[in-house]
């Protein structure tokens, strides 16, 4: 294997980060008086022990796929989308609103809902996109503000228009025709939450990978991301590209909202800024902003999230260890220079060895 090819490098960085994150988690468990081997055994059992749990792991990963690809896509085009949470909420709101209002057969309703969620998330990202394009307002701050605006919008809209019977804090439960869950899949995975969202997400990731790599659109958006000025000099419409990038990223996160609120869950709740939005940053980073990398990273994080409850049930290790491990992995991935240096040394060592 060529240690120096960019792709392999990224893979190694990811694997070593994961390894270091797990080691850090083990140390932390040991320091707090728990048995790390036991902890990890139950952690992974919790995510993979049986077909239902595997299904749940994939279901947990689904929204992460989409927020992860959202962040990764934005990143590839030079933008930092820290607003996936808000976009997810708005996508979820649009989807839920239609799901609760329109009574159509499932095959017709679902596509409408999915498109609505993309529009919801996309529109929410339009504002930071516009501000970035026209006024050069940094999208990090703008998307953070949009997150809170989304949070409060949901807080207001759901109780005002979609609240459940006796339930102020969440919307009514959507009907079966608006749900991404389908019986055959639920049965196949023995009652798990896995739903159509999983397949949609995987398909979307493949589409995004193709867009980025093989199309004029991807070429243009990436060029603008790398160097606005040069792109402008080359006749590209820079403002349009920035707005479009941001909207696509927002649409992806919005779709993530639909899969979460209408697939994993069956309604939308107020008072929560979904953590998937921030975990998406982790997914993108560990996946080196590569769509397929993000796919793998999301499954891994999904596994941690999904297994930590069982670990907590079997041992006394608090489930926050899962989040701690994820956070540590991100730190190691972010400081990949260290890992690169380490890999350089290894490469040099082997090369030296060969010469001798």
């Amino acid at each position: 294997m060529n240690l120096n090819s960019d792709k392999f490098r990224a893979l190694w960085v990811a694997l070593i980060s994961v390894f270091l994150g797990l080691v850090a988690g083990a140390i932390l468990m040991a320091l707090t008086g728990h048995n790390p081997f036991e902890g990890y055994t139950y952690l992974f059992q919790g995510g993979l022990m049986n077909i239902e749990r595997i299904g749940n792991t994939l279901a947990t990963s689904t929204a992460l796929f989409l927020t992860g690809i959202s962040v990764a896509f934005a990143f590839k085009t030079g933008l930092f989308n820290i607003g996936a949470s808000g976009q997810m909420l708005m996508g979820g709101l649009f989807a839920t609103a239609i799901g609760l209002t329109w009574d159509l057969p499932k095959p017709i309703l679902l596509p409408i809902i999915l498109i609505a969620s993309i529009i919801g998330g996309g529109l929410w990202a339009l504002i930071p996109g516009l501000l970035k394009a026209k006024f050069n307002v940094h999208e990090v701050v703008a998307t953070i503000m949009m997150n809170w605006i989304a949070y409060w919008t949901i807080n207001y809209t759901i109780p005002a228009y979609f609240k459940g019977e006796y339930l102020e804090t969440e919307s009514r439960i959507i009907g079966n025709n608006a749900s991404l869950r389908v019986e055959w899949l639920t049965d196949l995975f023995n009652g798990s939450y896995i739903n159509l969202g999983f397949f949609i997400a995987v398909a979307v990731i493949i589409i995004i990978a193709i867009v980025l790599d093989k199309t004029v659109l991807g070429f243009t958006l990436k060029a603008v991301g790398f160097n606005k000025e040069s792109a402008k000099y080359s006749g590209m419409n820079v403002n349009k590209s920035i707005i479009l990038s941001m909207m696509i990223a927002g649409g992806l996160a919005g779709l993530g909202g639909a899969t979460f609120y209408l697939g994993y869950s069956s309604n939308i709740q107020i008072g929560v800024l979904p953590a998937q939005g921030f975990d998406g940053i982790a997914v993108a980073l560990l996946g080196a902003n590569n769509p397929y990398g993000a796919l793998a990273a999301a499954v891994f994080f999904g596994l941690l999230h999904s297994g930590k409850g069982f670990m907590n049930a079997m041992t006394d290790v608090p489930p926050e260890i899962g989040d701690t491990i994820i956070a540590t992995i991100i730190y190691f991935a972010a400081t990949s220079l260290l890992i690169h240096k380490f890999l350089d040394k290894i490469t040099a060592f082997f090369k030296g060895g060969l010469k001798k």
Partner: protein, 315 residues
């Protein structure tokens, strides 16, 4: 209306202060060239270590424990921020990602440890800081009601730090060097300044101040550590930009947030305000920030090199 304003004022200030001190922390970091989106996590770290310290000392040292707690909070968060410094200064990591990692680590590990200690992940302290009125000054009509009644000692401490920060940034050679590192680190390096050292110090200061901010929330109005500071760290970051990276600008911006959030929070209890849909009041500060960002966009005073890892070899 005046009554309402004077009535809200002291609480608005109480809410402003943690934001102000955290934002000032952000100022040190960013003026030296390091984006610190990890303020949220640093506040959490401060709140956590402060709560832990106070919890273990409050029996022995009822009042002293609070001040020791604040000190420990500042130092712990300062040390923790060195993780961010190491990543963004030495390892030239993307500073936004490193900051995000800081937020995630702080949010997770503090609750993890707290769960091991208290079983719940929350740490509640029995003692809070007393509110005091400033003698004599409190009797000045109007002004006295607004500024000098029901104040926390931490408010005066933070204002003192603000004045000091303003002086350090603009009047001392450390400040000059710090600003140079944020504007043009190559120039600073060529003038014989060790950019790394300056940036490490600045990030450390930002950690200390943000940690202090988190702990002030704890000892003034919240009374418990619960693994979150409800987005105040991000708001502090927005205030930094809104305040155009200047100490006094930040004072204005954070006060705006403090006031607007307080109005939103208490609107239900004030008949005049209760008629305005709560959502409008709630999103008001965020919308205004967006508008302010647009207004300032043309004349942004952002440090030129903020967010860029310093590379000796780079042109």
């Amino acid at each position: 209306m005046i009554d309402i304003i004077t009535g809200i004022f002291p609480y608005a200030i109480a809410f402003t202060i943690p934001l102000l001190i955290t934002s000032l922390g952000g100022l040190f970091s960013e003026r030296s060239g390091v984006v610190n989106i990890g303020l949220e996590g640093l506040m959490i770290m401060g709140s956590f270590s402060g709560a832990l310290t106070i919890l273990s000392l409050e029996k022995v040292l009822p009042h002293g424990s609070i001040w020791i707690g604040l000190l420990v909070a500042a130092l712990t968060a300062g040390v923790f921020s060195l993780l961010h410094a190491f990543a963004s200064i030495h390892l030239k990591a993307n500073q936004i990602i490193s900051g995000t990692a800081i937020n995630m680590i702080a949010g997770a590990i503090t609750v993890f440890i707290a769960r091991n200690i208290t079983g719940s992940g929350n740490i509640r302290i029995k003692l809070g800081l007393n509110r005091v009125s400033v003698p004599v000054l409190k009797d000045i009509p109007f002004i006295g009601d607004m500024f000098f009644t029901n104040t926390y000692m931490t408010t005066w401490l933070v204002l003192l730090i603000l004045i000091l920060a303003n002086f350090i940034i603009y009047k001392t050679s450390f400040g000059l060097r710090l600003r140079a590192c944020g504007e043009h680190p190559q120039a600073a390096a060529a003038a014989g300044i060790n950019v790394f050292v300056i940036r490490y110090i600045s990030v450390f200061i930002s950690g200390c101040l943000a940690g202090l901010g988190g702990a002030i929330i704890l000892v003034t109005y919240s009374g418990e550590f619960n693994g979150s500071v409800a987005g105040l760290g991000f708001l502090a970051l927005a205030s930094l930009i809104f305040g155009q990276w200047k100490p006094l600008g930040i004072l204005g911006a954070t006060f705006f947030f403090g006031f607007a959030s307080t109005v939103a929070n208490v609107s239900q209890a004030i008949p005049v305000l209760a008629t305005i849909p709560a959502i409008i009041l709630k999103i008001f500060p965020y919308v205004v920030t967006l508008i302010a960002l647009v207004v300032f966009s043309k004349s942004s005073q952002a440090p030129k090199a903020v967010g860029e890892p310093f590379d000796q070899g780079k042109r």
